[in-house]
C-alpha cells in the first residue's frame, strides 16, 4: 500500500501501486465469480461508508454536547433568568441522558428530521435542503467543468513534460493554488462585476431565491471554486501521468507502433486517472465544506453561508445537520471515486484483498 490518502479503508486499498514494479511473479487471480465478488466489494464499501457517516454524526453530536458551559446558558446569554434557562434546557432535552438524546436525534435524522433551529425556530431540514441545493448550483458546474478541464490539462502537461506548455500549466496551477480563494474572489468581483459589469457582484436575494433568480449569480462563485479545485487536480493528474508514461506498458504500447494520441488516451489515461480519483473526490467533497469563503464573499445563500451563520449563532441543530450532510457528501464522493476506480482498474475488481 503506497502512501495514498485513500479515504475509507477499503478494498480499493489493495495495492494499486503494483504498477510501480511488483517484485513477485504475477499470479493469476483466482477466477471465481467476478460479478459476485465485485458486488460483495461494493456492498462492503457502502457499509463502511454508512458506518463513517454514523460515526461522524456521533462525533459531532458529542463534540457539540461537550462544548464548555451549558448550552442553554450559552444561548440565552448571561442575563437570562434561571427559569428561562431551565425552560430551554427542557426544550432542548438537555436533562436527558446524552445517549438517549443521540438516539432520539439519530432516529429523527434518519427520517430527515434534524430538529428545530435554535435561532429561527423553523425546522432545520427544509432550510438546509435549500442551502444545499444552492451550493450544488455552484458546486456542480464547478465540479464538471473543473474536473474535465483540469484532468485534460494535467494529462497534457504530463505527456508534454518539460516542454513550454507543461511549464506554463504547472506554473499557473502552482500560482492559482497558492493564492487564497478570498483573494481570487475579490479580484474577480472587481474585474467582472465592478470594472466590467458582466456579472452581479453579490447575490441579493437570500434563501428565498429560486434557481432561476440565482442563475446569473452562480458564475463568479463557480469560477472561483473551479480555479481553487482545478489547480490541485491538474498537478495530481500531471504527476500521475508522468508516472504512468514512464511505465513499462506505455513503452510497450509505443513500441507497438501506436500513435502518441492512442498511447496516451487508450493506454496511459485510464491508469493515470486512478490515483487522481481520490484527489478529485476529496476536492469535490471539499467544495461543499470549502465554499464558506466563496459564499461569504458573494453573499451566496448556500451551505457555507449557513454553516458560518449557525456557528456564529451556536445553532447546534443546524451545525449537526450540516455536519451530517457534509459527511454524507464526503463519503458519497469517495464511494463514487472507489466505484470509478473499480470500473477503471479491472485488477481491483478481481483481486481479493491482499493483506501482508
Amino acid at each position: 500500500m503506497s502512501p495514498t490518502d485513500t479515504p475509507t479503508g477499503s478494498a480499493v486499498e489493495a495495492d494499486l501501486t503494483s504498477r510501480g514494479g511488483a517484485p513477485t511473479t504475477p499470479r493469476p487471480s483466482r477466477p471465481g465469480s467476478p460479478a459476485l465478488s465485485t458486488l460483495l466489494l461494493v456492498l462492503r464499501r457502502v457499509g463502511t461508508a454508512l458506518l463513517t457517516v454514523l460515526l461522524a454524526s456521533f462525533l459531532v453530536f458529542f463534540a457539540v454536547q461537550a462544548l464548555p458551559g451549558d448550552v442553554a446558558q450559552q444561548l440565552l446569554g448571561q442575563d437570562a433568568t434561571p427559569e428561562a434557562v431551565a425552560a430551554l434546557r427542557d426544550t432542548l432535552g438537555l436533562d436527558q441522558n446524552v445517549w438517549a438524546r443521540y438516539g432520539e436525534w439519530l432516529l429523527g435524522a434518519s427520517h430527515g428530521d434534524f430538529g428545530v433551529s435554535l435561532v429561527s425556530g423553523a425546522p432545520v431540514g427544509p432550510d438546509l435542503l435549500i442551502a444545499f441545493r444552492n451550493s450544488m448550483l455552484i458546486a456542480v458546474p464547478a465540479m464538471l467543468v473543473g474536473v474535465t478541464i483540469s484532468l485534460t490539462l494535467g494529462v497534457v502537461a504530463g505527456v508534454r513534460r518539460g516542454r513550454p506548455s507543461d511549464h506554463a500549466i504547472s506554473l499557473i496551477s502552482l500560482i492559482v493554488m497558492s493564492v487564497p480563494e478570498f483573494m481570487v474572489a475579490t479580484i474577480l468581483v472587481l474585474l467582472f462585476a465592478v470594472a466590467i459589469p458582466i456579472f452581479p457582484a453579490v447575490v441579493l436575494r437570500g434563501d428565498s431565491a429560486t434557481v432561476v433568480e440565482l442563475l446569473p449569480s452562480v458564475w463568479l462563485p463557480a469560477i472561483v471554486l473551479t480555479l481553487a479545485m482545478a489547480a490541485y487536480i491538474v498537478r495530481t493528474a500531471r504527476s500521475s501521468t508522468i508516472d504512468v508514461m514512464a511505465s513499462e506498458f506505455v513503452t510497450t504500447a509505443e513500441l507497438k507502433g501506436l500513435s502518441t494520441r492512442q498511447v496516451v488516451w487508450r493506454h496511459a489515461v485510464p491508469s493515470a486517472l486512478l490515483p487522481t480519483l481520490n484527489v478529485v473526490a476529496l476536492n469535490v467533497a471539499w467544495l461543499l465544506g470549502g465554499v464558506v469563503v466563496v459564499e461569504n464573499v458573494f453573499n451566496y445563500p448556500g451551505m457555507g453561508k449557513l454553516m458560518l451563520e449557525s456557528v456564529f449563532n451556536r445553532d447546534l441543530p443546524t451545525i449537526q445537520a450540516i455536519a451530517v450532510v457534509s459527511a454524507l457528501v464526503y463519503v458519497v464522493c469517495n464511494l463514487a471515486a472507489d466505484l470509478i476506480a473499480l470500473a477503471l482498474d479491472p485488477r481491483l475488481r478481481t483481486r481479493r484483498k491482499a493483506r501482508s
Partner: protein, 625 residues
Amino acid sequence: MTTTSTNQGGAAPVTDTASAPVVVVDDLSISYAAGRREVPVVRGVGFEIAAGRALGLVGESGSGKSTVARTLLAHLRRGSRIVGGSVRVAGDDVFALDERARRALRGGTAALVAQNAGQALTPSMRVGRQLREALESHGLPGGHDRVLELVRHVRLPDPETIVRRYPHQLSGGQQQRIAIAMAVAARPQLLVLDEPTTALDVVTQSAVLELIRDLAVELDMAILLVSHDLGVVSSMADEIAVMRDGVIVEHRPTAELFADPQHEYTRELLASIPRVHLGDGDRAGESGRDARSLRGTLSGIAHAAHVRAAQVLAVARGEESAVDPGAQAAPRVGSTEPVVAARDLVVRYGRGLPAAVDGVSLEIGRRETLAVVGESGSGKSTLATAMAGLIPAESGAFAFRGAAGLEGDLTQPVGRRSADLRRAVQLIFQNADTSLNPRRTVGAAIARPLKLFTGSSSPDRVAELLVEVGLTPDFAARLPAQLSGGQRQRVGIARALAAGPELIIADEITTALDVRVQAGVLELLTRLRDEKGLSCLFISHDLAVVRGVADRVAVMTGGRIVEVGPADRVFVGPNHPYTRTLLDATLDPGTTELPGVGDGRARWRDADGWTDHGGGHHVKNWEAQ
C-alpha cells in the same frame, strides 16, 4: 539428458547469404545526461543479425544490454542520446526515420518482447483488444478471428476466454505468451527479446523459449535475445555477445564461446554459474563433492575436507533412515536427534484459504542443509515463515531440539517463543534490499541482535562478524544504500550470525543477485555452516543452486513434499514426475538445445504412500493422468 528434443537444433547456423543482414549496428555509443555530466552507457557497440539467426546478448545488470536492444526499435530512454554510430534495421537508419516510418518500424518491422509481461501489458485493457491494436496499427485486419488465431499461435488454450481476460487474470507464462503474440502479430523481420523469461519459473521458461524458437523459424525472423542467464542464451542463440560496462567484450558463436572463453570476464561468468545437469561421464560416479567442485574456482579449497565430511555423514544418515520405509508414513530421515522435526504440518493464511503448507513432514539434522525446491507458490516460503514463527501452524507437530538441551515448539508464534529459541532460529531473507533497514547503519543492524540476545554489543564483536562474512570492519558505518547487493546479503548473514543461531533459514537468498555475486554468497554460507556446525533450511527454486549447497533436497509442489532425499540421489533419479519436470526444464549454460517440457501441465496425480528408493531417498507415489 534424455528429454525429447523438439527443436531443430539452434546450433546449426541457417546462413542466407543472399540477403543483407536485418540488423546492422555500427559503432554505437549512447550516453545520458546526469546533471551536467554525460555518462556513457554504451560504447562502440557493433553487431549484425541476419534473418533467421539469433544473437544473444549477455552481461551483468546495468551493462547496457537493454539500452542496446531497444535502439533497434528506435527507442531511447528519456535523457539518453546517441553519441555516435548507427543502427540499421532492414536497411534503414532507425534514428533518421520520420514519425510515420518509425511507427511502421515499431511493431511492424521490428517487435519487442519485454521482460515482465505483467507490467508490459496495459492493465486496463482486455488482452484481445491489445492484440487487435497490434494488428490494426500496422494496417492488418484486426478481426476477432485473426486475434483468436494469434492466441492459438502462441499455444494458449481456450483462446475465446483468454481474449476476454485482463492481463492480471493470466499467469506469468500466459502473459508472456500474449506479449509474444502481440510482437509477432505483424510478422516482423526482427524480434527483440529483453529478458523474456526472467520472471518465469523454469518450467514455464522452457515452454516460452520453445515457442519463441518455433516462431522464429516459422517467420524467419532475426532475433536479439537479451538475458543475464547464460543457460537461456546458450540454448537459443547462434552467437553470443558478452557485454560489460557498455562494451562488447567478446562476440563468438555459442558453442565456441562455451568451449573456449577468451575474455577474462567471460571466463569468470562461466565459472560462477551453478549447474544442475552434469556431463554424461560424471553421471555414474557423481557425488555431492563433484557437484561442489564445479564451483571450485571460487569455493575455498580449504573447506573441501569439511564439505566432504558433511557429505559423507549425510549419506550415511540417509542409509540409516532407509530402515523404516513405512508405506503410509511420511519418510523420516535422520534418526539421530534432528534439530527440527515436523510432522503433518499444516499452515494456512486464513480461514477458507487453501493450506499453503499441507501436511508436510520433514527433519533437519544437526549440521545438515535441507534444501526445499519447487515452483513459485508451492509453499516454500510459508514453510520457512512458519519455522521462524511469523505465522502460526494450524496443525501438526513442529519441534526444535537444540544443542544444549534447548527444546522448543516451533508451532508457537514468535511472541510466545523463549528468547533462547528465538536466538537459535535465524532467518536470512531473499531480498537483501528490503531485509536491512535503510535508515540504520550496518553496524547498528548487527549490533541490535547482539544486544538483544547476548546483552552486549561491542563494536569489536560487530567488526568480528563483519570480517567473518568477508567484509571489512569499516562497513559498520555504512548505510545499506551504500552497499552492493552481495554486500547487503553478507550483512544479512552477519546479522543472523550475531544471534549465535543453531538453525539458519535461508529463503531464496541469492535470487536477486548476479551469478557472480551469487556464487560468492553461496560459498560464504556453506563455509559458515561448516565452520559453525549450523543446520540450515535452504529454500530455492533454482535446482542448480541447490545442487551446490544441499545435503538433502525436498521437492515441494502445491504445499506438499513429493520427493525427499540426499541431493545426489534426487538429482540422479529415479524421480517423481514433478521433480523430473523441474530438472528437465533447468537450462545449463552451454546446452545448445532446448529441453521439451510440453506445455508444462502436470501429467500426474497424487496417490497415497511413498516409495523408498534407498539411501534416504523417498518419492511420493503418483498415478499417471
